[in-house]
């Protein structure tokens, strides 16, 4: 009899559990998965999205992948028509491939229906994150996270009287935030190997990573300022004399000098997280990194607050630009929950949501936030962010961007870090590689 009761109880429990799992499945129907990189702004987005869940009743699930695997992981997902992501915050360079291969839902009709205007967002972010082909009104994403490369410096070290005196003695000018790359190199050289508070410190942390996109994202900041162009502005895909112009060659040589003279030992494969580690551990005086990390750095108990300062990418002999970062948010074409995903985009585009996004640590691209007179004072890096977003340039966003990127990674790393050949040879080879890619694509 006892056995019979036990069996009955087990069956009852199983039935109840099945019922519960059906309820769970129903709840899961009202759930969206958003895919992005695992970094500080992602945590801010989790916080922000709680408001969306409150308003819509739709649960938000997040799939965050570290930057080094971000492209591999999510491009594989898109290429295999996976349904993991309903919404994706994809990198700016993916827009061409994702639009042409049908990975993203085109948003023009949706924007028109919901009254979302791209005029309400910073032009550079619309071109960089939303449009394909570039400079045409074809929108595949809503600008979500504005970003660009900027610099941090140790304000407390710069303020030390003995350091200021030593710098003035050596260079004949005051130690101040660098306005040009030459000034930046002087400062980095000055700090390299210097003893500060009983510890040996180094000049600068710059991007040198080989595997994904690191060294390209770093070197571009210098190349743009020295006269590098991706192509002839008057004749698309003509690269000879633009990619390997004398200015570009000088820029590449400069980046190598900066790497050789002024980076910490073992910095041959550094990207965002290595830069953060070097700065947070008090190893370097200057750090190249994306603005996205600056809110977190400002809050850091060891190097944040009064100890940290921010500045825009310095100018070069041929201009003043910086590398665009950041991403737009897109609806994945393979998602079964496109309506709910569009609902999220509609909510995210609202001015009050954009305002909260900025206060939580995300970088809004909305003019309502950025053009607010109080914006430059709203954070110690806000003015620099605004200035940077007005001078951004981005890498190719062609469908073959991955091939183009890998070619630059190889040629630049071979020259800068591995001492192979000259700057001219590296850029000549890059022109040959890129020409081959565009020829294979039938564009040349």
């Amino acid at each position: 009899m006892r056995k019979l009761i036990a069996v009955a109880a087990a069956i009852g429990a199983a039935v109840l559990m099945t019922g519960a799992s059906i309820d769970g499945a129903r709840a899961a129907d009202k759930q969206l998965t958003l895919c992005w990189a695992a970094w500080d702004p992602a945590n801010a987005l989790v916080e922000l999205s709680k408001d969306f869940t409150k308003q819509s009743g739709i649960d938000m699930k997040f799939e965050f992948v570290p930057w080094t695997n971000y492209a591999d992981r999510f491009l594989n997902e898109l290429n295999s028509h996976g349904k993991l992501c309903d919404l994706i915050i994809g990198d700016s360079q993916w827009i061409g491939g994702s639009a042409e291969n049908g990975h993203y839902v085109k948003l023009n009709d949706f924007f028109a229906k919901e009254g979302i205007s791209m005029d309400d967002f910073m032009p550079a972010t619309v071109v960089g994150y939303s449009e394909w082909p570039k400079n045409t009104p074809n929108y595949w994403a809503l600008p979500a996270m504005g970003d660009a490369v900027g610099w941090t410096y140790r304000k407390d070290w710069f303020a030390k009287p003995e350091i200021q005196a030593a710098f003035k003695e050596k260079y004949g000018r005051d130690l101040a935030v660098p306005k040009t790359y030459d000034e930046l190199k002087d400062i980095a050289t000055f700090f390299q190997g210097r003893e500060i508070d009983g510890k040996t410190v180094y000049g600068a942390s710059i991007y040198t990573e080989r595997g994904s996109e690191g060294i390209t994202m770093g070197v571009s900041n210098v190349l743009y300022d020295y006269g590098f162009e991706y192509q002839n502005p008057k004749k698309p895909y003509e690269m000879e004399g633009f990619v390997n112009s004398p200015g570009a060659i000088a820029g590449l040589e400069f980046y190598k000098e900066l790497y050789k003279c002024c980076t910490p030992p073992g910095a041959s494969n550094s990207y965002m997280s290595e830069g953060l580690d070097a700065f947070k551990s008090g190893q370097v005086a200057l750090q190249m990194n994306f603005f996205a990390f600056f809110p977190g750095l400002y809050k850091d108990p060891n190097v944040g607050g009064d100890k940290i300062g921010f500045f825009v990418n310095p100018a070069g002999p041929a201009g003043h630009f910086t590398q665009l970062g950041g991403q737009g948010i897109s609806v994945v074409a393979y998602s079964d929950k496109q309506d709910e995903a569009l609902q999220y985009i509609k909510w995210f585009a609202k001015p009050d949501v954009q305002k909260k996004w900025w206060t939580l640590g995300g970088y809004s691209c909305a003019k309502s936030v950025l053009n607010d007179p109080s914006f430059p004072e709203s954070a110690p890096f806000a003015a620099q962010f605004l200035e940077s977003m007005a001078m951004v340039k981005d890498f190719w966003a062609e469908p073959s961007y991955a091939q183009l990127l890998q070619a630059e990674q190889k040629r630049v790393h071979d020259y800068v870090v591995a001492d192979q050949g000259t700057a001219k040879e590296a850029l000549d080879k890059l022109v040959a590689d890129w020409t081959q890619v565009f020829q294979d694509d039938g564009k040349m």
């Binding site: 591999d72 491009l75 594989n76 290429n79 028509h81 491939g97 042409e100 291969n101 049908g102 080989r210 595997g211 910490p264 030992p265 073992g266 910095a267 041959s268 494969n269 469908p399 991955a402 091939q403 890998q406 190889k410 790393h413 071979d414 020259y415 870090v417 591995a418 001492d419 192979q420 294979d440």
Partner: protein, 320 residues
């Protein structure tokens, strides 16, 4: 006593072991059919996961297919990729890097592995414990090994640099094992040798233990010196085992990916870019599926061809 023919007995035994309905069917099958019934699923599985992908890869190597553009038209490109790969200086550079890695790891692992096996074979006190200790690196996952050697090689905090500094007196942060063009190829060789020398040792130990004692006893009677015994008995008789170890390590290291990827990712620049890293970059970073399929086929043919030549040499040594 009459004994049933072995074949009938086998079919009957199989039939008895099965449910009655199936048993009747099995009883009506020939032994050959039953044998096919057993090995069929395995063969199908092999075809599905080995042969089909190989044939599919060969097919893709003649097309412009890209996995990231599944909707694009797939065009036949003939031998274009093969032609381009064989004329690509970067691929040849990766082949040279691979050859450097394979040759040096094999030399170091064989010399050290055989030396360790020879010592362990002396059966000194505690030799069993030492054998186990020596085998530990081989049992670790390459991912774990790659990660902890990355830390050991850190120029500012890594133990390796401090050990070198302790011995030589040079500043530990004055050199980088993974970031230096000169040192990084050797950094990988060191890690591979550390991990896989025990494997070579194990195979050599099996070879040494297979040599009968009476041969050494006869040599003693003939007053052969230990040196002479080593050259005339130990080495020739262990040679097939050593060659087998070299074959296994050669094939493995030609395909080496995980450890190099974790330690240097092929850098600095392309200094440690072995050909498997090139293949991965072309296939999964540049998405040149057709091109990378052709490269994979070239590598397969190279390894297969070299291994066949080597196995023939091995057989010749065994016949001596």
């Amino acid at each position: 006593m009459t004994e049933l023919p072995a074949q009938t007995a086998f079919a009957d035994r199989v039939a008895e072991a099965m449910p009655s309905g199936i048993g009747k069917t099995v009883r009506g099958l020939s032994d050959k059919a039953i044998a096919w019934l057993f090995i069929g699923p395995t063969i199908l599985l092999l075809l599905a996961i080995n042969i089909f992908p190989l044939i599919w890869t060969i097919y893709l190597s003649f097309t412009n297919y890209r996995a990231n553009r599944p909707n694009a038209e797939v065009k036949y490109v003939g031998l274009d990729w093969y032609h381009r790969i064989l004329g690509d200086a970067d691929v040849w550079a990766a082949m040279q890097t691979t050859a450097h890695f394979v040759i040096w790891t094999i030399i170091i692992e064989t010399v050290l592995g055989f030396g360790l096996a020879w010592l362990i074979d002396k059966k000194f006190r505690g030799h069993a414990l030492w054998t186990t200790v020596i085998l530990i690196p081989m049992m670790l996952s390459p991912a774990v090994v790659g990660n902890f050697w990355t830390f050991l090689y850190q120029p500012q905090s890594g133990l390796f640099n401090y050990a070198i500094s302790f011995v030589t007196g040079i500043d530990p942060s004055s050199f980088q094992m993974l970031g230096s063009v000169r040192l990084s190829p050797w950094a990988i060789v060191i890690v591979d040798a550390w991990m896989w020398t025990p494997y070579v040792m194990l195979i050599c130990l099996a070879g040494l233990r297979s040599i009968p004692d009476y041969i050494y006893e006869a040599a003693e009677v003939d007053r052969a010196s230990p040196w002479r015994q080593f050259w005339s008995i130990t080495l020739p008789m262990a040679l097939p085992f050593i060659m087998l170890a070299v074959l296994f390590r050669g094939i493995e290291n030609f395909k080496m990916f995980d450890m190099v990827n974790l330690l240097t990712g092929g850098g600095p620049g392309s200094t440690t870019e072995v050909v498997s890293i090139t293949l991965k970059r072309q296939a999964f970073e540049s998405w040149r599926t057709g091109y990378s399929s052709a490269l994979a086929i070239i590598l397969f043919v190279t390894v297969f061809g070299l291994a066949n030549i080597y196995v023939k040499a091995l057989n010749r040594v065994k016949q001596r």
